[in-house]
């Protein structure tokens, strides 16, 4: 158990180290990047991806995946913003948004956990349906003219330059991380992803845990949708398109294993910061933002390949150690036989 904790810590630390090295390197080329304002803006800009990455992290912990979060973000953003434009109270809009996210998540969770459908296939299907629903709801038009107080909220700052959104999300992530690491039920997610049948055998409700993971993923995406509309100020029908892929990439960068059972929300948040800083870094290095996708792709592939290779190596090392231990025993037995 201690060993697992240690490795989990190491994985986060390596992401953090990567982040520090990345930012440091950029700082060498352009010291302007390392000013407090610029760094805190990196955090502020990562808020949507932090939410998406932390949400999808729950499903990845359990060994599944959810590619419908980008569409969920788009739908909740469209619906809640339209309600705000039409003058309904913000509480209602927020609640409706969260319910939409939870319902989509519950549908995904039902299909994956209780019907046993491969998660990528099922969520790809819901992704298509939800994306289509955005067009049905908005009739292909943009949602514009959001109330001024709503868009101004995204500029509201506490403690220097930190936006109130990021401060809240950071607090939520820290609290959730403690729950996941310290409480009995919090550990269910990792346990299910590590060994589903083993988890069932020790009495963990595997299906319920997976369902809850998907609901959480949907709710996080819904909240991300609300913050997205507050930050951007208008919603196109393609809002959030491809965000799911970037959120998965953020999780991978944050040291979360896609086979499940390994990783933490802190890691996901660090990955989200790296992910959303790429375009800012490019600007500071004097490249055009055309390199955005290329750099993201290279980062992602490099990280996963290095991760896989080091895991393979440690697996082979362990196996060799076991074999060595066994061969060390065999001659001893043989010697005894000789004595007879």
């Amino acid at each position: 158990m201690n060993f697992v904790k240690k490795t989990a810590k190491m994985r986060e630390m390596s992401s953090l180290l990567f982040l520090v090295i990345l930012f440091g390197t950029v700082g060498i080329f352009n010291p302007g990047f390392l000013t407090p304002t610029s760094l805190i803006n990196c955090l502020n800009d990562s808020v949507v991806f932090t939410l998406l990455a932390c949400g999808i992290a729950f499903t990845i912990f359990t060994g599944e995946i959810d590619v419908s979060i980008g569409a969920t973000l788009g739908l909740t953003a469209a619906v809640s913003s339209t309600m705000l434009v039409n003058g309904s109270s913000w509480i209602v809009a927020v609640i409706v948004g969260i319910i939409i996210g939870a319902v989509i998540g519950a549908l995904n969770g039902w299909g994956v956990a209780y019907l046993g459908i491969p998660s990528l296939i099922f969520t790809l299907g819901t992704n298509g349906i939800v994306r289509g629903l955005i067009y049905v709801y908005t009739k292909g038009a943009w949602v514009e003219n959001l109330p001024a107080w709503f868009t101004r909220l995204s500029q509201f700052k506490i403690a220097g330059n930190l936006t109130v959104y990021y401060a809240i999300i950071l607090a939520v992530v820290i609290v959730l991380s403690i729950i996941l690491a310290k409480t009995r039920k919090g550990k269910y997610f990792i346990a299910v992803g590590d060994n589903a049948s083993g988890a069932t055998l020790v009495g963990i409700p595997t299906n319920k845990t997976k369902l809850l993971a998907y609901v959480l993923s949907g709710v996080f995406a819904a909240v991300a949708g609300l913050i997205y509309s507050s930050r951007i100020g208008f919603i196109t029908p393609t809002a959030g398109n491809g965000y799911e892929l970037r959120a998965i990439a953020a999780c991978v960068l944050g040291g979360i294993s896609l086979s499940g059972g390994l990783g933490s929300l802190i890691g996901a948040s660090i990955g989200a910061i790296i992910m959303s800083s790429v375009s800012r870094i490019l600007v500071f290095l004097g490249f055009s933002s055309d390199y955005d996708n290329t750099i993201t792709g290279i980062l992602l592939i490099t990280i996963v390949v290095v991760d896989a290779l080091t895991q393979n190596r440690s697996a082979t090392k362990n196996r060799r150690q076991r074999l060595m231990a066994r061969t060390a025993l065999t001659p001893a037995r043989g010697d005894k036989q000789h004595e007879h």
């Binding site: 990439a249 993201t296 792709g297």
Partner: protein
């Protein structure tokens, strides 16, 4: 012994499911035709052939992605390779001064290399296929955009003005009716069918999907087989890119960005197991046509806006996987068969 018996077992199981599933798909296709033509008399076969270009890319790519999914992998980078192919043809022809056919060959080689890169990471480094091809889709999309910036033409306009001989790929019509795209599709179905179902290579693709280790022990270079399927899927995407570029008459870096969902839907709907080991080219081809007809018929016969078409495709995908999950669930299956048996007894 063990491997032999499991081989026979999976062969027979494949045969029976394929037979059943392909009939289902054929019925689905026929009922689509009947419903759509009843709803609107403008829905005819010849009219559908005219708009074949909207669906041909998905049809072509899904044939090749079937290979990947039979080995238990997944390929979500094919869509971005379509754009890369298109822009490589355009830039190497217009700005590189190459012969158009030389440019086409270059683009196919590059697409194959893209597939090989991802395939290498999947097969030899043991990285999950979904993540590698996810990274690949970013990378190749990005590279396509960068290549488009090399060109003297503004990237949003796209490179056009291709020679007649090239655009003829998509304009040629056999007997004045059958478009070349259909001929290409049929030819590719035949090639893929033989490759997957009639050759030693195809058999090893299946065996790798059924049991990776067993195939390794039986002397198959399973890593090379896995890698080769990604190369094939890259080549398939480049063929689709060539056909699409020829039809549009413009080379752009972002065509094909929205193909991922329909491609995976076609392959899964075609009866390929996403866990590997089961699948058929004919099933995929039929499923791709079913989706294509759906996307063509719904706007024409029921006045459904093309923007909404993700909904029926998504519902189709979910209905198929849910239906299959219920059918394979022993409890519900037992209930179904009980019902069926009772009926028989009553007769």
């Amino acid at each position: 012994m063990n491997i032999n018996s499991s081989l026979i077992q999976f062969r027979s199981s494949i045969k029976s499911t394929v037979k059943r599933w392909e009939t289902v798909l054929t019925f689905l296709l026929l009922s689509e035709f009947i419903i759509f033509s009843l709803a609107n008399e403008k829905f005819t076969f010849t009219r559908m052939l005219l708009s074949i270009n909207d669906i041909i890319s998905i049809c072509i790519i899904s044939l090749f992605v079937t290979f990947v999914m039979v080995t238990g992998g997944i390929d979500i980078q094919a869509g971005s390779i379509v754009g890369l192919t298109s822009i490589v043809i355009g830039v190497s022809w217009q700005d590189g001064g190459m012969n158009i056919w030389g440019a086409v060959i270059v683009s196919v080689v590059i697409a194959a290399l893209c597939g090989a890169l991802s395939g290498f990471f999947v097969a030899y480094c043991g990285v999950q296929p979904m993540i590698v091809t996810l990274g690949g889709s970013f990378l190749f999309q990005g590279i396509a955009l960068l290549i488009s910036k090399i060109s003297a033409t503004e990237s949003y306009k796209g490179i056009s003005g291709f020679p007649e001989s090239f655009t003829q790929i998509a304009k040629f019509k056999l007997f004045g009716v059958i478009p070349s795209q259909l001929l290409i599709f049929i030819a590719l179905i035949i090639i893929c069918y033989f490759l997957l179902h009639k050759t030693k290579y195809g058999r090893s693709v299946f065996l790798v999907g059924v049991n990776h280790e067993a195939s390794e022990y039986s002397g198959i270079n399973s890593r090379r087989v896995v890698m080769s399927t990604y190369i094939l899927s890259g080549i398939g995407a480049s063929i689709a890119g060539i056909v699409l570029t020829a039809y549009l008459g413009t080379a752009k870096s972002d065509i094909g960005a929205t193909f991922t969902l329909p491609i995976i839907t076609a392959v899964v709907l075609g009866g390929t197991l996403s866990t590997g080991g089961k699948g058929s080219i004919l099933g995929t081809a039929l499923a791709a046509v079913v989706i294509g007809v759906l996307r063509f018929g719904l706007p024409l016969s029921f006045k459904i806006s093309t923007q909404y078409l993700d909904i029926p495709v998504g519902i189709l995908l979910l209905a198929v996987v849910i239906g299959r999950a219920i059918a394979s669930n022993s409890k519900t299956y037992a209930a179904f068969s009980k019902l069926f048996l009772r009926k028989k007894n009553a007769d």
